[in-house]
């Protein structure tokens, strides 16, 4: 439950929610996750591979995800990440937090537009 109390809304921390969602949809290795994150168009800034790998290692240590080496019939072995039960719970909390943030941002835009249109 300690994860549920520590959500703070920042673009760096938001990557955690984005990775958890993509891993809930499908287990992936880091290389593929970076490509999927880029394709998902969740962020304005470019996806930084070092940041993604750092988050994955931290989330692995915190047991939000688990990983194992996957070797295919061809190509290299890569560390495959899967979301855990704790990770899924944290993702639900993130979703609530993001909805609240969306409302606050909408309030900001509404106030801005009202002032500039008046």
């Amino acid at each position: 439950m300690s994860h549920l109390q520590k959500i703070t809304f920042s673009s760096d921390r938001l990557i955690e929610a984005q990775l958890l969602l993509l891993l809930q949809i499908k287990s992936s290795h880091g290389y593929e996750l970076i490509q999927r994150l880029n394709d998902a168009d969740f962020t304005i800034e470019e996806v930084d591979p070092a940041t993604i790998y750092r988050h994955l290692r931290r989330m692995d240590k915190e047991e939000l995800v688990k990983s194992h080496w996957e070797t295919g019939p061809s190509g290299p072995g890569r560390r495959l990440y899967t979301v855990t039960k704790s990770g899924e719970e944290l993702l639900s909390q993130w979703t609530i937090n993001i909805k609240q943030q969306k409302e606050k941002l909408a309030n900001f835009l509404k106030t801005y537009e009202q002032y500039h249109n008046s």
């Binding site: 290389y31 591979p49 070797t71 290299p76």
Partner: protein, 274 residues
């Protein structure tokens, strides 16, 4: 486990020299009667040496694609991607133009007649063919037709400093002003460096399709015949030789390199564990 004077040989990319050295130190503290010897090579050169019959127990290379091209399935069964990096332009504070160079004007600074810059040998060292790919991608990104040719003509001949570690040494000795290296090498040597745009520095899997447009001809495993290799995000990989007599110990070492202790060592040395 009674490891009476076991001896393991590791063939590693020159760029991994400090990382493998640090891993050996940790490994030997846990396995007192095991001796590990490391041999730094240009990765392409090293893979070819194995093809020619040279023996080793563990192979750690700067390009994971070399395993599929040269070593699997005859010499290595499985191999694992464990780190990534990017190509940068390293220099020192005495390098000509070092006060002006940045990630936008680097090509113009390098092309000034008094500036000396170098790259490693593309036939021996992945850093060499990756540098050629960076130039090709820069030509496209900056819309400067002919830039690759201009840089190639102005660059010191690749045989002068054939491996990226030779190149780093030349930079430290003041023999060149700029060198195309991995960022981890520049960080380990305390050298300042220019970070290139991620669309050309081969760091980001999101640009894999873009990198694929770059293509370099290198000597293949068949003497006298070349092959074309395409740009890919940089990935370092490790595998165990099928000829090893010490499979368990080799696996233990690979586990160390690819596990938490290896991650800490890779990060200390400026690489990105993955």
């Amino acid at each position: 486990m009674a490891n009476n004077n076991y001896y393991l040989k590791i063939m590693n990319a020159g760029a991994l020299h400090r990382i493998i050295g640090n891993c050996i130190e940790v490994f030997m503290q846990k396995n007192l009667e095991v001796t590990l010897e490391m041999k730094g090579v240009g990765s392409r050169e090293g893979a070819k040496r194995l093809l020619s019959g040279e023996k080793c127990d563990i192979i750690a290379l700067a390009d994971q694609a070399l395993f599929a091209e040269l070593l699997v399935p005859d010499l290595v069964e499985d191999y694992f991607v464990f780190a990534t990096d990017q190509i940068v332009i390293a220099y020192d504070h005495f390098s000509r133009g070092s006060k002006e160079i940045n990630s936008e004007n680097w090509a113009d600074i390098l092309l000034q007649p008094e500036v000396i810059f170098a790259r490693s040998d593309h036939n021996l060292d992945p850093c060499g063919y990756r540098t050629l790919m960076v130039w090709q991608l820069a030509e496209k990104l900056y819309n400067r037709p002919g830039l690759t040719h201009e840089l190639d003509s102005a660059c010191l001949h690749y045989s002068t400093y054939p491996k990226s570690l030779d190149l780093a040494g030349a930079l430290l000795a003041g023999k060149v002003d700029y060198a195309f290296l991995y960022s981890s090498e520049a960080k380990q040597l305390g050298l300042p460096y220019i970070t290139l745009p991620s669309k050309i520095n081969l760091s980001n899997p999101a640009y894999a399709d873009y990198y694929d447009q770059a293509a370099v001809s290198v000597e293949s495993k068949i003497p006298g015949k070349n092959i074309i290799i395409h740009g890919k995000p940089i990935e370092f990989a490790v595998g165990i030789s099928k000829t090893t007599q010490h499979d368990d110990l080799a696996k233990q070492f690979v586990d160390l390199l690819t596990g938490h202790e290896g991650h800490a060592i890779l990060e200390e040395c400026g690489m990105i564990p993955c």
